[in-house]
C-alpha cells in the first residue's frame, strides 16, 4: 500500500476541509435567513446544528479515509455525501436564483445513492458481491434518471402543491405535472427498492462475515439503514402531501433520523478506516525501526503491539524443509489453522519465508498481508536470519558437546583396551619370564625352554594387539602417505569398490575427516554382512575435497545420517557439509564436501 499523500495531498485535504466548513456555514446561513419555512435548518437552531454536525463529520471521515486509503472509493463517496447533505438548504432558498434551486431539487437524491454505496461496499465502498454491485449501479442510475426527469419536466411554479416557494425552472423542457408526480413516486419506489436491497444484502453479508469483518461492517451498515429508513419516510411525505413541510413533526423526526444516521455512519467509517489503516501504520513503524536499527523489542513483540494482537507469533520454515522454528530458534510444530488462530503466510519469490499466527477475530489475514510492506518484509527476513542463526548456534553447541563426549568415550575405550589387552599380556609375559628364570636356576637350560617359548608367544600377541590398537587410533598410512593409501589399506580389510582417490596430500584434518567418513560408512555396510559392497570415491574440485560413499544396502537417509553423527560433527567443524540422499536405485549416497583452503 502506498502512503496516502501520494494521491490526496495534504493541502488538497486542508482545502477540501476548509471548503466543507465554509460551505456548511453558508448553507445553514442561507437556510436561517431565507428558508425559515422551507428548510429544517432554517426552522430550528438544533436542526441547523445537527445538520452541520452530520455533514462535517461525514466530510471529515471521508477525508480521513481518502487520506489513509486513497485507492478505495469510500473516502470520496463520503465527502460527496457530506456536501450533498446540505442540498435541501439550497432548494429552500426562497430568494435564491431559480436555476440553483431547480438543480438542487434535481440533485437531492445524491446523498441517498452515496450512502447506499457506502453501506453495501463497507468498509471500502467497493462491493464484494455482484448482487450488491448491481444494486448500487441501479441506485445511481435511477437517481440520475430521476434528477434529469425533474430538471426537464418539473415546473414548481405550476405545481399546485407548491404554495410557499414557487419558482420557475429555467431548464424546463416540458411542463408536465404528471411526469413530476410519477417521478415523486419513482423516488418512493427507488427508496423501497434500496431499503429491501440493503436490508437483505447487508444482512446476509453480516451473517456470513467473520467476527473481524462484522466489526468493520456493522458501524457503517446500521447507521446507513437508519438513514435510508428516514429518507424513505421523507420521499413518501413528498409524494403524498402537498409539500415537505418542516413544520410537521413527522418530517422533522425524519430529518433527525437522517442526521443521526449520517453522523453515526461518519463515526463508523472513521473507525473502520482506523482499523484498516493499522496495517499501514505497522508497516511505517517497522520501517522506522528497521531504518533506525535500534530494535527495542523483537519483531514479534513489535507486530503484536502494532496489530493489538498479543497472541501473534512468527514462525519460519527452515530451508532444509519440513521443520519450523520460532523467533527463539526452537523447533515448533508446523503452523496450522485453528478456530482461534489464523495462519497468514508471507511469501517472497513464491517461497514461504514466514508465517504469522494470529487471532482471526482481531486481524484479518488479507489485511495483515497487505499491511506488511517491503520494509516489514525486510524486518521479517532479518528476524528469520536471526532465528536461523540461533538454530545453528544451538546445533554447533550440541555438536561441540558431542565431539567432547566422543573424545571422552574414545579415551575410555582406549584406556580399557590398553589395560585389558596389552598391559595384561605384558604382565603375564613378565610372569612367564620369571618362571623361565626360576626353572633355569633350579633345573638348568633345558627346563626353561617351554616357559621361554610361552613368553615369546605372549610377547607376539601383545605386539599384535598394540599394533591393532595403534592403527585404530590413527592409521599410519594416513599420516605417512595420505588419504588414498589409507583408504586402499582400509579396502584390504573391508569390502568396498574404490573409485578415484586424490593423489596429492591434503590438510591433515581434512584427510582424517575423509578417512573417518569412509571408515564409518563402510563399517556400517560391512556390519550388515549381506548386500552389495559400498562404492567409495573422493575428488578435489574447486578447492574442496568431495568424498562420496554409495551404500546400496541402506535405504534410509535419516538412519544413515543418525549413525554418522560424529562424522557430521567432524565435517561441520571443518566448515564442510555432509549430506545423505536417496539414490535412484534405492540406496543412499553419503556425500561430504570438505574445504581444503
Amino acid at each position: 500500500m502506498r502512503a496516502g499523500n501520494a494521491s490526496v495531498g495534504r493541502y488538497a485535504t486542508i482545502v477540501v476541509a476548509a471548503l466543507a466548513v465554509a460551505y456548511g456555514l453558508i448553507a445553514v446561513g442561507v437556510a436561517a435567513r431565507h428558508g425559515v419555512f422551507t428548510t429544517y435548518a432554517g426552522r430550528s437552531t438544533a436542526a441547523a446544528a445537527g445538520e452541520l454536525a452530520a455533514g462535517w463529520m461525514l466530510v471529515a471521515a471521508g477525508l480521513a479515509a481518502w487520506w489513509r486509503r486513497p485507492r478505495v472509493p469510500a473516502g470520496p463517496l463520503a465527502v460527496l455525501a457530506g456536501f450533498a447533505w446540505f442540498i435541501p438548504d439550497w432548494i429552500g432558498w426562497q430568494t435564491g436564483p431559480a436555476a440553483v434551486r431547480a438543480l438542487a431539487l434535481a440533485a437531492q437524491g445524491l446523498t441517498l445513492a452515496a450512502v447506499v454505496q457506502l453501506a453495501l461496499g463497507a468498509p471500502t465502498g467497493r462491493p464484494s458481491s455482484a448482487l450488491a454491485r448491481r444494486l448500487i449501479v441501479t441506485t445511481w442510475s435511477a437517481t440520475v434518471a430521476i434528477a434529469i426527469g425533474r430538471v426537464l419536466f418539473y415546473n414548481p411554479f405550476t405545481d399546485p402543491a407548491c404554495v410557499t416557494w414557487c419558482t420557475a425552472n429555467p431548464l424546463l423542457l416540458h411542463d408536465s405535472q404528471t411526469v413530476a408526480r410519477a417521478l415523486d413516486w419513482a423516488d418512493v419506489g427507488l427508496c423501497a427498492f434500496v431499503a429491501v436491497g440493503v436490508a437483505s444484502i447487508g444482512g446476509r453479508s453480516l451473517a456470513h462475515a467473520t467476527t473481524a469483518a462484522r466489526r468493520m461492517l456493522l458501524p457503517v451498515v446500521l447507521p446507513a439503514a437508519l438513514f435510508i429508513a428516514a429518507w424513505t419516510v421523507r420521499v413518501i411525505l413528498v409524494a403524498t402531501t402537498p409539500n415537505e413541510n418542516p413544520a410537521r413533526a413527522i418530517a422533522m423526526a425524519s430529518f433527525a433520523g437522517r442526521a443521526v444516521g449520517l453522523g453515526l455512519m461518519a463515526l463508523g467509517l472513521a473507525w473502520s478506516t482506523g482499523r484498516a489503516a493499522r496495517g499501514a501504520t505497522m508497516t511505517r513503524r517497522l520501517a522506522r525501526q528497521a531504518a533506525a536499527g535500534t530494535e527495542e523489542h523483537s519483531l514479534e513483540v513489535a507486530l503484536a503491539r502494532a496489530t493489538g494482537d498479543v497472541s501473534l507469533r512468527l514462525a519460519f520454515p527452515l530451508r532444509d524443509g519440513g521443520r519450523w522454528i520460532d523467533t527463539q530458534g526452537s523447533e515448533i510444530e508446523p503452523p496450522q489453522r485453528r478456530a482461534d488462530r489464523s495462519v497468514t503466510t508471507i511469501l517472497r519469490d513464491g517461497q514461504t519465508v514466514a508465517a504469522l499466527l494470529h487471532d482471526p477475530a482481531i486481524l484479518d489475514g488479507e489485511a495483515l498481508r497487505r499491511g506488511i510492506g517491503t520494509a516489514a518484509e525486510l524486518a521479517i527476513a532479518n528476524e528469520r536470519l536471526r532465528a536461523e542463526a540461533l538454530v545453528q548456534l544451538r546445533e554447533v553447541k550440541a555438536s561441540r558437546l558431542r565431539l567432547v563426549e566422543t573424545g571422552d568415550a574414545e579415551r575410555r575405550t582406549l584406556e580399557r583396551d590398553l589395560h585389558d589387552g596389552a598391559q595384561q599380556r605384558l604382565v603375564s609375559l613378565a610372569i612367564a619370564l620369571r618362571m623361565a628364570q626360576s626353572a633355569f636356576d633350579e633345573q638348568g637350560a633345558g627346563a626353561a625352554g617351554a616357559s621361554l617359548r610361552e613368553a615369546g608367544d605372549r610377547l607376539d600377541r601383545a605386539i599384535t594387539e598394540l599394533r591393532e590398537l595403534a592403527h585404530g587410533l590413527h592409521p599410519v598410512e594416513l599420516s605417512d602417505e595420505g588419504l588414498a593409501a589409507a583408504v586402499e589399506a582400509l579396502a584390504e580389510g573391508a569390502p568396498m569398490h574404490l573409485g578415484a582417490l586424490p593423489a596429492q596430500r591434503l590438510p591433515p584434518s581434512v584427510e582424517v575427516a575423509a578417512y573417518v567418513l569412509v571408515e564409518e560408512a563402510t563399517r556400517r555396510a560391512a556390519a550388515r554382512e549381506r548386500g552389495p559392497a559400498p562404492g567409495v570415491q573422493a575428488q578435489l574440485a574447486d578447492g574442496k575435497l568431495v568424498v562420496e560413499v554409495e551404500d546400496r544396502g541402506e535405504d534410509s537417509p535419516q538412519r544413515a545420517l543418525a549413525d554418522l553423527v560424529s562424522v557430521v560433527d567432524r565435517v561441520r567443524a571443518l566448515d564442510g557439509l555432509l549430506t545423505v540422499e536417496s539414490t535412484s536405485d534405492g540406496g543412499v549416497l553419503i556425500r561430504a564436501e570438505l574445504p581444503c583452503a
Partner: protein
C-alpha cells in the same frame, strides 16, 4: 604363609600361583571374580588374599569392593590389592576404613617375587604396604614449595618409607640407622609438618598419605 589369588586373567592367575609356590607360599585358593574370591576366603581363611583391582563384570573397582568386604568380615585376613593405576585413591580409601593388613601394589610387581613376598609377610604381620612408585609419585607431586622444604633429605626419605607402610624398625633396617635415630626423625617430621602425632602405625601411614595427597 597361606594365600588366595584372585585375577580374571587365567595366565596371570596360574603364573602367579606357580611363582608363589616356588617361593614357598601356600596357595590355598584361586578365584576369577569377586564371588569366587569371597567364597574361597570364607572357606580357607588365608593369611592374605592377593586381589586384582579390575575384575568382571564391570572391570572397574570390583577388587576394591571385595577387599573391603574381606576386611569387614574376616579381620584376620589381610588383602594385597594389585592395581593398574598409579594412584593412591583406593589405598587411602581402604586404609581410612580398614586400617592394617592391607597392601596396595602395582600390577607389574607380580614378576618381582622379592617385593611380593616382602609385602605378603608385612601384611600378614599386620602392617600395611603402599607401592613405592605410588609414594614416589606423591612425594614428587607439585605442591606449595615450602611444604616439604622444611624437611631435610634424610627426613624426606623417612617420610616416603612411612608412606610405604614401613614400621620404625623397617625404616631403620632400610636406611641402616638406629631405631632411636629413626624415632627422632619421625618426631621431627610430625612436628615440622604439623601432623597429629600418633603411636598407631596405620594412623601414621594414613596421616602421611593424606598429607602427601593434599
Amino acid at each position: 604363609m597361606r594365600v588366595v589369588v584372585a585375577d580374571d586373567s587365567m595366565l596371570i592367575r596360574e603364573g602367579l600361583t606357580t611363582l608363589l609356590r616356588q617361593a614357598g607360599v601356600t596357595v590355598v585358593g584361586k578365584a576369577s571374580n569377586s564371588d569366587e574370591l569371597l567364597r574361597s576366603v570364607a572357606l580357607s581363611q588365608p593369611d592374605v588374599a592377593v586381589v586384582d583391582v579390575r575384575m568382571p563384570p564391570g572391570q572397574s573397582d570390583e577388587g576394591v569392593v571385595a577387599a573391603e568386604r574381606i576386611r569387614d568380615e574376616h579381620p584376620n585376613v589381610g588383602v594385597l590389592l594389585l592395581s593398574h593405576y598409579v594412584d593412591s585413591r583406593y589405598a587411602t580409601r581402604l586404609l581410612a576404613e580398614h586400617p592394617g593388613r592391607l597392601g596396595y601394589l602395582l600390577k607389574e610387581r607380580v614378576s618381582d617375587m622379592a617385593v611380593l613376598i616382602d609385602a605378603l609377610e608385612r601384611i600378614a604381620a599386620g602392617e600395611c604396604v603402599i607401592d613405592p612408585t605410588i609414594v614416589a609419585g606423591l612425594v614428587k607431586r607439585p605442591r606449595p614449595a615450602q611444604a616439604l622444604a622444611v624437611l631435610s633429605n634424610r627426613e624426606r626419605e623417612v617420610l616416603a618409607l612411612m608412606a610405604e607402610g614401613h614400621s620404625n624398625q623397617g625404616i631403620a633396617e632400610q636406611l641402616v640407622l638406629s631405631g632411636k635415630t629413626v624415632e627422632s626423625h619421625v618426631r621431627q617430621i610430625f612436628a615440622k609438618l604439623d601432623l597429629p602425632d600418633t603411636s598407631d602405625q596405620h594412623r601414621r601411614v594414613l596421616a602421611v598419605l593424606r598429607f602427601l595427597r593434599s
